[in-house]
Amino acid sequence: MSAKWLLCLALLITPPAFGQGFAGLGTEADDGFAVPEKGVPFDFPADHGPHPAYRIEWWYVTANLQDAAGNDYGIQWTLFRSALKPEAGRGWSANQLWMGHAGLTTAETHYHAERLGRGGFGQAGVTLDPFEAFIDDWSMRSLAVDADPLSAVQLTAKGEGFSYDLALTADGPLVPQGIEGYSVKSPLGQASYYYSQPFYQVAGTLRLPEGDVEVTGQAWLDREWSSQPLSEDQTGWDWFSLHFEDGSKMMGFALRSDASAEFTSATWIEPDGAATPYTDGALRVTPLEWAEVEGRQVPVEWRIELPVRGIDIQTTPLNPQSWMGTSFPYWEGPISFSGSHTGRGYLEMTGYE
């Protein structure tokens, strides 16, 4: 999942301070943090765990769900890790901060919750054997036996007015984003390590004030880590994950800049998991309809074009008010699309003031 850089830094900075970076952090990763390099193959399952030498990292799940009556729902489950220092300290000085975000969207209501914690004592973190990413009573726990730990996971979270407990089972492989997992984020070359699991089938229960709802659907996991923030002039992003009806998937994002044209990137994923990355310019995203959300104008309907694949679709949100009112607020919610193709997906938008 692309430009969650900022979001993660939200642990530490306010949006206006973004331009200056944080704690001496410029556009270059200094301070002794490791920097992603091209051509380093992933090492699973070790890479499912945390990489404390890098400044920021996340485990990010979104799911498009339906109940028996065909009503649509969406959920988000995210665990961010942010290192205060490259060297992992001990105890309370572990220097690892964790932030959980959970969302549940229905056509009428959008629920969200946030949790913060400190690594080092078992309140929040990611363990490899057995695999579990957790903060407080939220967890993504591996159910896999003799397989990649992320091939089957149990996902739970709760917040005010909602909770969910979902089983996710992958029916496809892990997919590296960008060039074999090296995902470039700006013309200046800022990049991250990035892979996804877009092939989850979901079954489970949503708990809402109206009662429990049994749901099924599709989910998408993103894993990403790096030390470099965006370019100084990048102000926000629009990120899409799309499940097509034929089983293909697509990831695409546009990084908006106040100094130059936006920077786009996309990955086309065949139903068998074969991925084709597209560099800047191949993807075009255009706002079609704006809505007032929490006192600001946010584009909630989009035209997405990836001409090389014959993609020209319009997206519609399940709930235009899918606002994550967390410490660093953003829009994130389920969408459906039509046009040249149909399907469902997730949209994340940040940087709309």
């Binding site: 530490l12 105890g91 309370w92 000085s93 914690g117 957790f134 407080d136």
Partner: protein, 798 residues
Amino acid sequence: MYRSALSALLAHWMRHKLQLFSLIVGLALATALWSGVQAINSEARDSYDRAASALGQDQLERLVMADGSPVPVSVYAELRRAGWRVSPVIEGSVDLAEGSARLVGIDPLTAPPQANAPALTDEDDPTRFLIEGLLIASPELAPRIPAELGAIETSSSIAVDTILTDISTAAERFGQTNPSYLLVAATQPADLPPLSEVASLQRVAGENPSDIARLTDSFHLNLTAFGLLSFAVGLFIVHAAIGLAFEQRRATFRTLRALGVPLRSLITLLAVELATFAIIAGLIGIALGYAIAAALLPNVAGTLRGLYGADVTGQLNFDALWAAAALGISLAGAAIAGAQALSRVARLPILAPAQPRAWARASAKALRRQSAAAAGLLALSVALAIFGSSLLAGFACLACLLVGAALALPGLLTWALDQAARFGQTALGEWLFADTRQQVPGLSLALMALLLALAANIGVGTMVGSFRGTFTGWLDQRLAAELYVSARSEAQAEDVRAFLEPRSDALLPIWSVETRISGLPAEVFGIVDHETYRNHWPLLDAEANVWDRIADGSGALINEQLARRDDLSPGDVVELEPSWTLPVVGIYSDYGNPSGQAIVADASLEARHPDIPKLRLAVRVDPEDAPALAEALRARFDLPGQGVINQDEIKQFSMNMFEQTFRVTGALNVLTLGVAAFAMLASLLTLASMRLPQLAPVWALGLTRAKLARFELARTLILALLTWVISIPVGLLLAWVLLSVVNVEAFGWKLPMEIFPSDWFRLGGLALLAACLATLWPIRSLARTPPSALLKVFAHER
């Protein structure tokens, strides 16, 4: 025309500089007293709001280990993983250049908002707090923190004795990984597993910030009442000065009108003149009020901190709103005082004789009218005291009493002097009384001011004294034991007990159980039968064999708050817990405690709650041996911070606090009295020049000027003395209203009134002294009046 009219009006002030001075100073003093008290009050109130927020995490419930040891960090993680919103704190004491402070290490990631954690999304660099060991302290404490402790940032939302830092910093400093305790967020998610399933920890209730507010409100109410009284006193002065200035300028007004100045223009000019004076006086008053507040605030701060543990900074901030309010008060005061004078000018017949009527003897009719109004107000005040049932009614009662008494004063003085004159043995004596009586209307406003000042002094003095007496008496009773010891754990309590057994006269356990009585939180204490209680416990109402009934478990004592709340009296039955009822055998005073409380036999409570640890002990020893024993305890046991408390130290401390309180009220007393004395001076000075026609005939009959001057002095003293006599019942009534009406309405408890006659006489002496000083200048000038001036009276027959 305006210009010449204005210069004609202003010329008066050029010729009567003293009058101008008294007008300005009177208004300035009234404003200063009122605004000074307001400033103290609002500053202190701000401080409590701060204290209440700085109480921060102390208002939250905590989880601790039963034995007082740190909470294993694994237990913390388990609670979080179970969904409990708890936050770890590592806390300890650090030495400062002078004294010590509480270093509180919090985890800003999980800390509830009340813990005052710095915002992580703050524009300030949060890594300074999280990894660089930043310390946050109040502006008062910061300078005392040694530099080697770390970088300091100040925040006014931190309690004065606390340094806030990140838990990692505190962990490092104290070499401790396990949290000292866990804070429990005020709101917890629904459907959590019960605490007992996750961990075996004890829940400790947080402090309630409203407790502080309730206690300090009482102090502020008193100050506010004082401020209002001061202002009323000041208003009388202003009224006098303005009234005088208008009366004296009657001739000028008439002339101006006769020369063609329209009435409207004249009134406008006068109003503008008055407003200008009010603004000038207001500004002076603001400066003075600020000075008063700045001088008194450290004492107020000390009092509140010591008495109630409320943090008041002791630094006065200048508040523009406050200044504007003070100026407004000055203008309003001038408007009230000037309205009557202006209306008189409006009705002034152009052709009426322009003779100054200033201080002419009021007609008997006017006096009767005023006395009737006074009687009406006093009756209203009584009615309000009897039938009123709100704080507002209490204050209205107070206002009616004071204004009524002030209005009644001239009538009472006239009557008293009439009576006295009847016994005049000589013509001269008769003249003296008659002349004094003749002076009453002229001095009445100043005398009213004096009456109010004296009554306020007696009233507030009585109230503060009663408060002090009751509170310290109560403290004496409640703190009868010489030492109070708190242990960390039951095991340690056992050791302490074994250690103290052979070294003390008696060991009295102090322990309580939290319960709900009539649905509201309350505490039940268990006590053993001992003369400490029998001889000292402050009972308001009790059955005959109260202590025997407590000892054999057949009765309960309840505090006054519970008695008032549930309307219980001895003989009634109180339900302490479901299925545990006992007859009430006595009621005790329990000042400052908003909750209900009951006392039963130790054995009865023990039988019902065998598991509650008894960690606190009251120790009876020879007072001589107490310090040594306290030292021995501290040396031998690792007791918590306030583990051993010497009763003597607490009392000493409390007494100091009361002395500080007295300094504040004492200073205000002197100020109001000073203002009243000034009012007398102003009136007497004005009268002196006008009284020549009355004195000249007596002088002509053979009385020397020196003798006349002595008579003048005697007259003033007689009036001051009479005023003082009348002020005593007024002051006592005032105190009674404050203690038995306002206090009960405001706080739910009544303070028994104590009377301090020696104070009255001291005050009487002061009043006479003030009258002497006020009259000194006028009589000096009278004694030096050239005979020619006296003779002229006969020549200039008017």
